[in-house]
């Protein structure tokens, strides 16, 4: 941040940078810088404590690999599930007028503001062995979700779905619906129009939504530990492993696991910026 652009300076003054900086009011400049430091400092703190010497050895330990494998698997499955359910939901919200549409849209944002732990309890009450639907699943199919890998996928999907829906709905609203009208005048049914025109047009938006969704699922902690528990190899994803390693007093181990999550998150962010966020 070497250049502060106030946006109102006449072109002649652009070369005199000190004058520029002086024009930023101090009550705005100070908190802004402080906020930036506040965001960056913990990351620096984390990086400062990485045990670089033992890193390769720790990274390849079976526990870490197992947690990473499980995390990537469940987050990917959750993202796929969210795509299957979320894209049609977003389409309904953006293209079909039905009574209570605004209410439905509000409902979708509930998991977004709900503390994930509460989400986990809610999932237990709905899909647990004694839950509203879970009981029926158990008696009829002998199928229980809690404390299974499938349960992790469900918990992650619950928390991540709103991210996908909101992002895809935004893309659909932004896309020119008249292309769909043009398709209709050429004889395309609504379904064909969706698959052949709408999807290609909002593809980048869906991809961005999926990445956001995946990142959210990967970092999911509260709902997962409440609904699926913390069993290594079955439900212990990376964030849970970080937590447990920390609790057991192995700070170095927690730092290594955190570093992995940090690298994955930053990679996702970079991919999102370059490929989708900056694209028109």
């Amino acid at each position: 941040m070497t250049r502060l652009d106030t946006g109102v300076a006449p072109p002649a003054a652009t070369s005199r940078r000190p004058a520029h900086t002086a024009r930023v009011p101090l009550p705005l400049l100070l908190p802004a810088l402080l906020g930036l430091v506040f965001l960056i400092l913990p990351v620096i703190g984390l990086l400062a404590r990485v045990p670089w010497a033992t890193l390769p050895q720790r990274l390849t330990s079976s526990e870490v690999l197992e947690a990473l494998r499980l995390s990537v698997l469940t987050a990917t499955l959750a993202t796929l599930g969210c795509l299957v359910l979320g894209v049609p939901l977003a389409w309904m919200l953006s293209r079909v007028t039905f009574p209570g549409r605004r209410f439905v849209r509000a409902l979708i944002t509930v998991p977004l503001v709900l503390p994930p732990v509460v989400g986990g309890i809610a999932l237990l009450l709905a899909l647990g062995r004694r839950g509203l639907v879970g009981q029926w699943l158990d008696t009829n199919f002998g199928f229980t979700l809690p404390f299974t890998t499938a349960g992790v996928v469900v918990a992650e999907s619950f928390v991540a779905l709103p991210f996908l829906v909101i992002s895809v709905e935004g893309a659909l609203r932004g896309a020119d619906a008249r292309y769909e009208e043009a398709a209709a005048t050429l004889g395309a049914s609504r379904w064909t129009t969706f698959t052949h025109v709408t999807l290609p047009l909002v593809g980048p938006g869906i991809a961005a939504g999926a990445v956001l969704c995946w990142a959210r699922a990967l970092g999911e902690f509260g709902a997962t530990i409440t609904f699926a528990g913390n069993f290594p190899g079955i439900t212990q994803t990376m964030p849970l492993a970080v937590y447990q390693t920390m609790e057991s007093g192995d700070l170095e181990g927690a730092v290594v696991l955190s570093l992995i999550l940090l690298v994955v998150s930053v990679t996702v962010l970079a991919a999102l910026r370059d490929r989708w966020l900056t694209a028109p």
Binding site: A182, A183, A184, T185, L186, G187, H196, V197
Partner: protein, 382 residues
């Protein structure tokens, strides 16, 4: 237009084009009464088109032209009335009949073309045939044939963003025609083009519309497009048809100020008795042909002569006028005058210099009776 063709008045061939042919006539391809209620705006337009005919829906912005087009295409539902294509009802609210856009044999060329940005020219044109059950290979053959027909055989693999405006327009036309619609709708097809491209594309569009065996409806606010491309003009203002007929009739006998302006005529409404027509403002114009009762009087701006002093001479309408403004108009100058009647006059730059024309200048204006056209205002729907 229920007015009797009054050949004596205009002396121009008045083709027997009445707006609403008898419903029993079997050769009407489109028969529609489009009523769309939109709160404060109401579209109420009757429209019929014969096979092979091109009709222009002409009107100022906000007249309801695009609403009419959307209703025909099935993108907006009618509130009342009906839409019948080759004897089949596509939309008739009172009987709860509704056919969605994709089931209508009606093609649309949209104003900004709306070519699918993710498909190349060939796939854009093949899109329609594919949706009509043609396999990919055959659809590509159809697409290539149409692109060839519009002169774009070398551009089949171009994406829309790699096409110029004129090329995109031709792809849009090819795409709409590739499914061989019975009715082709064109929404301001030339509006997005620059002047030069517009000229070429207009001529080419005319060729394709002539070749199209189905009917075509052209929505435009450009009278030149309408006159060149259409066999018949339907003029809408504020959601209603104000006049319809062939170009000759409309240019000769406009019925509203908008139409008169469109075709470049001065138009006045009045009451005729013999060769004198008392205009609404009280001024009397002498005409060559007698007309009785409610009547229109029209004359060209070039028929107005301007004088510094009151002219002598016989069969003339003369009045004192005050110059309001001057604008360039082709090689001449168009002068607007206030006075007992407001009038547009075309004069040569030489005459303008001679008359020392500055706004506010007092002049005398004159129009020969033989330069006027008088015709009765008998149309019920004017």
């Amino acid at each position: 237009m229920t007015g009797e063709p009054d050949r004596a008045v205009t002396g121009e061939p008045d083709r027997a084009v009445t707006g609403h042919p008898d419903p029993a006539v079997p050769d009407r391809l489109l028969d529609a009464h489009l009523v769309v209620d939109r709160g404060t705006f109401r579209l109420d337009v009757e429209l019929s088109i014969r096979p092979g005919e091109t009709v222009a829906l002409l009107g100022p912005n906000g007249a309801g032209k695009t609403t009419a087009l959307r209703a025909l295409a099935g993108l907006t539902q009618l509130s009342a009335g009906h839409l019948t294509l080759r004897g089949h009802d596509l939309d008739r609210p009172e009987k709860r009949i509704w056919t969605p856009a994709e089931k209508r044999s009606i093609g649309v060329v949209f104003q900004d073309y709306l070519l699918f940005p993710h498909l190349n020219a060939r796939d854009n044109v093949a899109f329609g045939p594919r949706r009509h059950g043609v396999d990919r290979r055959a659809a590509h053959v159809i697409a290539d044939r149409w692109l060839d027909r519009v002169g774009l055989a070398d551009f089949t693999r171009r994406k829309p963003r790699q096409l110029s405006g004129g090329q995109a327009q031709r792809v849009a036309l090819a795409r709409a025609l590739a499914v061989e619609p019975e009715l082709l709708l064109l929404d301001e097809p030339l509006a997005a083009l620059d002047a030069r491209t517009r000229l070429e594309t207009r001529a080419e569009l005319h060729r394709h519309l002539t070749a199209h065996t189905g009917a075509a409806l052209l929505v435009t606010h450009d009278p030149l497009d309408a006159l060149v491309l259409a066999d018949r003009l339907v003029i809408v203002e504020q959601g209603r048809v104000v006049q319809e007929g062939d170009a000759a009739t409309i240019t000769a006998r406009p019925r509203t100020d908008y139409v008169a302006q469109l075709v470049g005529l001065n138009l006045y409404r009045g009451k005729g008795s013999g060769t004198a027509v008392v205009l609404v403002g009280g001024f009397t114009l002498t005409t060559a042909e007698p007309v009785q009762g409610n009547a229109f009087v029209a004359f060209r701006p070039s028929a107005v002569a301007l004088f510094a002093r009151r002219p002598d001479g016989s069969p003339r309408n003369t009045w004192p006028a005050i110059l309001r403004d001057i604008q360039r108009h082709g090689d001449n100058l168009r002068v607007r005058l206030d006075g007992p009647i407001t009038v547009a006059a075309d004069i040569t730059p030489a005459a303008a210099a001679h008359l020392d024309l500055v706004p506010g200048r007092e002049l005398w204006a004159a129009v020969k009776a033989t330069e006027t056209r008088a015709y009765p205002d008998t149309a019920g729907r004017s």
